[in-house]
């Protein structure tokens, strides 16, 4: 029982990242009709917002310590962050320690800007082109973006640790009556799940309970009619692209402490997230979220020793297997609208 709960937790955790990326993908597909293969790159750029802020906070001045030597036998260069010099060692160290949560504030304007520039500068020229063209251009854009990041940050992963107080793990099992060590779970993974639920809730609330959201939903249902009513739906959809980029970026910021960011991390999630969108139903926001968590949990269970011993390799194919089954039996996806992708 404890093993099952542990894998469900793991699945929710993986599913959080899938759901957040798939949510953004669906928003863009549902509003602009664009299949955005650069969405994984937005997730990666978000993670590198955290890396950038961490580097900025760690900008240092150098003093020479004559008592210690570096690898060439020269006096050791000791680096002291400016922020520690300005605010004192304790406050400075605390600010650096909290660099990942602080990166949320940094990432929001950056991601909105990146999304806006991406949409206005490139993607809007492809609205009326076939999906194949959109896929090619956005995939190319993803490669360009990841190579730019690699140029500045290198190919090696860069650690963005969580604040000390949120690192480590908690024994969830003892809280619900299991033996000690039965369900040990990292604190930051719980934080990530909570954060994902919060972001998903915020996006749905925004669409459901604001006038702006209502217009966007109307535009998703019938763009032409909304346009005939004198509403500039294109401008709203551009803003939605920025919001989708922001969601992907924030998912990336918070993901850094789970697995250190590298320039390729967006590609690692991209294909899986598309599968999530297809399983959930193209254009269905609840479908994307549901499929994200569902596939995360299935993938987690497929990675258990029992599963891999019973069906070798199941951990590598489970998501695609589910996608095949769903497409064969229900081409519109779990929660897709009737008619979408069924003709």
């Amino acid at each position: 029982m404890d093993a099952i709960l542990l894998q469900i937790l793991n699945g929710l955790d993986k599913g959080s990242a899938y759901a957040l990326i798939a949510l953004g993908l669906t928003l863009i597909f549902g509003t602009l009709g664009v299949v955005n293969f650069a969405h994984g790159a937005l997730f990666m750029i978000g993670a590198f917002c955290a890396v950038t802020l961490q580097k900025l906070l760690n900008l240092s001045f150098v003093t020479l310590d004559e008592t210690q030597k570096d690898f060439l036998g020269n006096p050791l260069k000791v680096e002291t962050p400016f922020i520690e010099a300005w605010f004192g060692p304790e406050v400075g160290a605390t600010i650096i320690d909290w660099s990942v949560p602080l990166s949320i504030l940094f990432a929001i304007p950056v991601m909105l800007l990146v999304g806006y520039v991406m949409e206005r500068g490139l993607i809007k020229h492809f609205y009326k082109r076939p999906h194949a063209d959109q896929i090619l251009v956005t995939f190319g854009l993803a490669i360009v973006l990841q190579e730019i990041v690699k140029y500045f940050f290198g190919a090696n992963p860069i650690q963005t640790p969580p604040p000390d107080v949120l690192s480590g793990s908690v024994d969830l099992g003892t809280m619900v009556g299991f033996d000690p060590n039965a369900i040990i779970y990292p604190i930051w993974r719980l934080v990530y799940f909570g954060f994902a639920v919060g972001i998903i809730g915020a996006v749905f609330s925004f669409l459901q309970f604001t006038t702006f959201g209502m217009v966007v939903r109307a535009g998703m249902a019938d763009r032409e009619t909304v346009g005939l009513l004198g509403i500039n739906i294109d401008r709203r959809f551009t803003i939605m692209f920025g919001i989708a980029a922001g969601v992907a970026g924030l998912a990336g910021v918070m993901y850094g402490p789970l697995n250190p960011p590298n320039y390729h991390m967006g590609m690692d999630f991209l294909v899986l997230s598309f599968v999530v969108v297809v399983v959930g139903g193209m254009g269905s926001l609840p479908g994307a979220v549901l499929a994200g968590f569902l596939l995360g949990i299935l993938e987690s269970f497929a990675s258990t020793t029992w599963a891999t011993t019973t069906i070798p390799g199941i951990n590598q194919i489970i998501i695609y297997l589910v996608a095949i089954i769903v497409l064969l039996t229900r081409p519109r996806g779990l929660m897709g609208r009737k008619g979408v992708m069924e003709e």
Binding site: F71, Q159, N259
Partner: protein, 468 residues
């Protein structure tokens, strides 16, 4: 060929072919053998046709000779490839008499004079392996066919090494492998034209086992997470064998897909498995993420079977250590070489590399630097660029002064034998480069094995191929 070289040799250097052959155990057999093989060239599967008039593939005819450096310049190991390239460029400088000479001053063989190789100025071309076997073969093939590369060096993956080694064997050029740790490179996939300076998984196990026994005891239960490809399997096999020989029990061996980015679902069951040691047979990004995940789950803070839980990473690299950050503190592993060694060869290389590039070299950089020098030295001692002569000069060559102390290039399988390092993640690093500390320098004798050892069985070295 030989007489032409003798004619080209400056008289004041009193170059004596017979003396070299005697002193360095080089025989005419190697060179003659290549002639015989070349004579039957029509019957050989060769990928080359343009140079059929030459005695061997890409025989240098001008004033220069071209080496091919095949390293990952893109993809996840691009930083490691870049470090290799820096070291290779440094080696070329030293061969051409530029810079401070580096290990030319400490190398026990004094055949290299800083005037290129056999009097020819050394140039190089580079290829991008992308850490993909097909891309690596394509780039090596291009360097050999289009650029006239006479030797291929570099790489950061066993899959790539085996693929490129096979290509070089067909093409008739020497392959001086870079970072490749799988037993198969000099085991079932060994080739007469291929040479490995880097250590292997068996050696990691042999070096680590006594340290593990001393630090963790002989009654441990190990849980292995293993990257699901050739290198991972051979490392798991090696570590399982060496730890079980200590008395350890292997609780479980779980294969993880190479493309995995998150290992939480593999790590989560470890604590309840009855294991008290986790062995991560992962490399590169896999290792960085699996170790990070293991630390997140608090494994190192736990007590299992009445013992402190431990993690072992059998193969370390400096870049992995940098990527893993603070997570590696206290975690044991092994390395081929480390810049903190205090032998003269290491000091000379670190000084040379550090002053030029402002950072200490990685162990993959060192292996590429040493390989380039070893190749050049073998050409000088053989008196020819002919791969068969070079191969014979490298076989059973004993040397010192390139790092790791006295070293032996075994003729039977073309595997280098030298001291192996057991290292630990530094608890208190003073800078970005001393993230690992040397725990023990395992003597060469302790990591040697029979060429017919079961972990290396199944392949044939075959005959050297001069190509053309």
């Amino acid at each position: 060929m030989r007489f032409r070289l003798l004619e080209e040799e400056p008289k004041d250097e009193k170059w004596k072919w017979e003396e070299y052959m005697t002193k360095n155990n080089v025989t005419r057999r190697g060179v003659l053998k290549s002639g015989a093989v070349a004579g039957t060239g029509l019957a050989l599967p060769t990928i080359f046709t343009a140079s059929s008039a030459a005695a061997f593939t890409n025989e240098p005819t001008g004033a220069s000779v071209t080496l091919g450096f095949n390293v990952p310049q893109t993809g996840p190991y691009a930083d490691e490839g870049n470090d290799e390239l820096l070291a290779q460029q440094l080696a070329v400088e030293h061969l051409n008499g530029e810079g401070d000479g580096g290990c030319l001053n400490t190398f026990s063989s004094k055949a290299l004079q800083g005037n290129g190789i056999l009097g020819k100025k050394v140039g190089f071309v580079t290829g991008d392996t992308q850490t993909k076997s097909d891309a690596a073969r394509a780039s090596a093939k291009s360097m050999i066919e289009k650029d006239g590369a006479i030797m291929i060096n570099g790489g950061s993956s066993s899959g790539v090494a085996v693929a490129v080694q096979g290509l070089c064997q067909e093409a008739g050029v020497i392959f001086m492998a870079g970072l490749t740790h799988a037993n198969d490179t000099t085991g079932k996939d060994k080739k007469a034209n291929g040479f490995r300076h880097f250590f292997n998984a068996y050696m990691s196990g042999a070096a680590l086992a006594p340290v593990l026994a001393a630090e963790m005891g002989k009654e441990r239960r190990a849980y292995h997470l293993t990257a699901d490809y050739n290198w991972g399997w051979t490392q798991e096999e090696s570590i399982v064998a060496s730890t079980e020989a200590l008395g350890w029990e292997t609780v479980n061996t779980v294969k993880t897909p190479l493309a995995s980015t998150d290992f939480s679902s593999y790590i989560a069951p470890v604590l309840n498995s009855g294991a008290d040691v986790l062995v991560l047979n992962h490399y590169g990004g896999n290792m960085v993420n699996s170790l990070t995940n293991a630390i997140q789950f608090g494994l190192l803070d736990k007590v299992a079977n009445g013992k402190d839980f431990k993690i072992v990473v059998p193969l370390y690299s400096e870049l992995m250590a940098a990527g893993a950050g603070e997570n590696i503190k206290g975690v044991l592993g092994s390395m081929n070489w480390n810049w903190q060694l205090q032998d003269e060869g290491t000091k000379a290389f670190v000084k040379s590399f550090g002053e030029k590039y402002g950072k200490p070299p990685s162990n993959s950089a060192q292996t590429c630097y040493a390989q380039v020098l070893l190749y050049a030295d073998a050409c000088e001692r053989a008196g020819t660029f002919n791969p068969c002569g070079v191969a014979e000069a490298l076989e059973d060559f004993e040397f010192d002064g390139l790092g790791n102390g006295p070293t032996w290039y075994r003729g039977a399988d073309h595997q280098c034998f030298k001291d192996v390092l057991v290292v630990r993640g530094n608890e208190n690093p003073t800078n970005a480069y001393d993230t690992l500390e040397i725990v023990e320098i395992t003597p060469r004798a302790q990591v040697e094995y029979d060429p017919e050892h079961p972990m290396f069985a199944g392949g044939e070295l075959g005959k050297c191929n001069p190509g053309a």
